[in-house]
Symmetry: C2
Subunit: 246 residues, 2 copies
């Protein structure tokens, strides 16, 4: 259905185009700094026409955020084949791709985001759409990890380790974005090893976590990220103790 | 200065009393659920008199939050004597005391808090008083840790480890509050060991971090939390590899 030079878009198609344009702009600069005029110009339509599809910047921001959240959650999906460390490492690669593509928008979102209603967000009694989206992505990450570990009904200590590791991954990505002073490939491997390290620390207090750790490490290859860490720790930590101990 | 049965309070004294009463109420239930009427009743004064001292619940909440933030930051202060692990363990004990005392208020705050202005908070361009307070407490924790490590000008990797560990401590406390399913003493030790583990993982990638780790571990006693972890890992991780490896 083309009318002359420009094809006329259907309502849903136009909405999707605007969401894509907005997400692109919200990703490259802090969403607070992006105006509706700019979005209209980038989409090649008038400002009133933007308002025809979205009542305001907030609703467009929420739609863009929803697409970004679905995109990120989709990147967590990983076939359940091969060693666990390599699986998690591939997911970390896709996570940092996402963070890289949506840098300023990701930072603004994780620091509170502009889609925060008056009177509070993410507190227990006033859940906003934004908070619900962030929590849904965290939950998707959590579910994926438990599924790969093969533990559908996790003990409290495992839930704690997985959820706190997710917050560690978020803050690692945020700090990386602020200047990119450590190579992202190092941080991807580091986060995989951090996961193993946090499980190992918990396992030092609890036999159930110990059994889980041994099972998770069972099919790690010699050059996998877990084994590499264990080998390094085995030399590094005892050496540290021996070299400088009084 | 007593007038009959009840002593008349000065303005600043009354303000401080109201802040204390409000903090007590905000700590025991989600701040969204606490009304000005309730604060007035608990302080033994009329609702209009509360408004005489504070224009609204938000300003009273912010004052209570400020007192809580100063209280928490003060608990980070620790003499620079003895092994590092034991120092951090004492701070973790005081941190969990604080979290225990202010449970629901701490949860609500860390999930966004009610003191969030319309249009966003904690995003880079719209810092609210609440976000600034949370960030000031994180910064106080960060400064304390660097001061104990004796590294006033930290390399990027150390800054990353310390800041991400602080977010790990926050999320560990939040998850602990949600059901208290793991003993807090275990989590206090675990967080100290997590810190050493995150430094060790980073040290596996970087010699500067390795040197820092060796220095930090130099005066650890045999029964300190770092050495206990190293001993457990030395048995746990290699055993895990050997027992189940193909």
């Amino acid at each position: 259905m083309t009318t002359g030079v420009r094809r006329r878009m259907g309502v849903e198609e136009r909405r999707q185009q605007l969401i894509g344009v907005a997400l692109e702009l919200f990703s490259r600069r802090s969403p607070d700094e992006v105006s509706i005029d700019e979005i209209a110009a980038a989409a090649g339509i008038s400002r009133p026409l933007v308002y025809h599809y979205f009542p305001g910047k907030l609703s467009l921001y929420e739609a863009a955020l929803k697409r970004a959240a679905e995109d990120l959650a989709a990147r967590f999906a990983e076939p359940q084949d091969g060693p666990l460390g390599a699986r998690l490492l591939r997911v970390m690669g896709r996570f940092f791709d996402f963070v890289d593509e949506h840098g300023p928008g990701f930072s603004a979102l994780m620091r509170g985001g502009p889609a925060v209603p008056a009177g509070g967000t993410c507190s227990m009694s006033t859940a906003s759409a934004t908070c619900a989206l962030i929590d849904s992505v965290r939950q998707a990450a959590y579910d994926q990890i438990l599924s790969h570990l093969g533990v559908p009904d996790p003990p409290a200590r495992l839930e704690l380790v997985v959820r706190t590791w997710i917050s560690l991954a978020e803050s690692t990505a945020l700090i990386w974005l602020d200047g990119r002073r450590v190579p992202r490939a190092e941080l991807e491997t580091q986060l995989v090893q951090d996961f193993a390290a946090l499980v190992a620390v918990s396992a030092a207090h609890d036999e159930e976590m110990g059994a889980l750790l041994r099972r998770a490490l069972a099919d790690e290859p010699a050059d996998g990220p877990f084994r590499e860490l264990a080998a390094r720790l085995a030399t590094l930590v005892p050496q540290g103790f021996q070299a400088d101990a009084p």
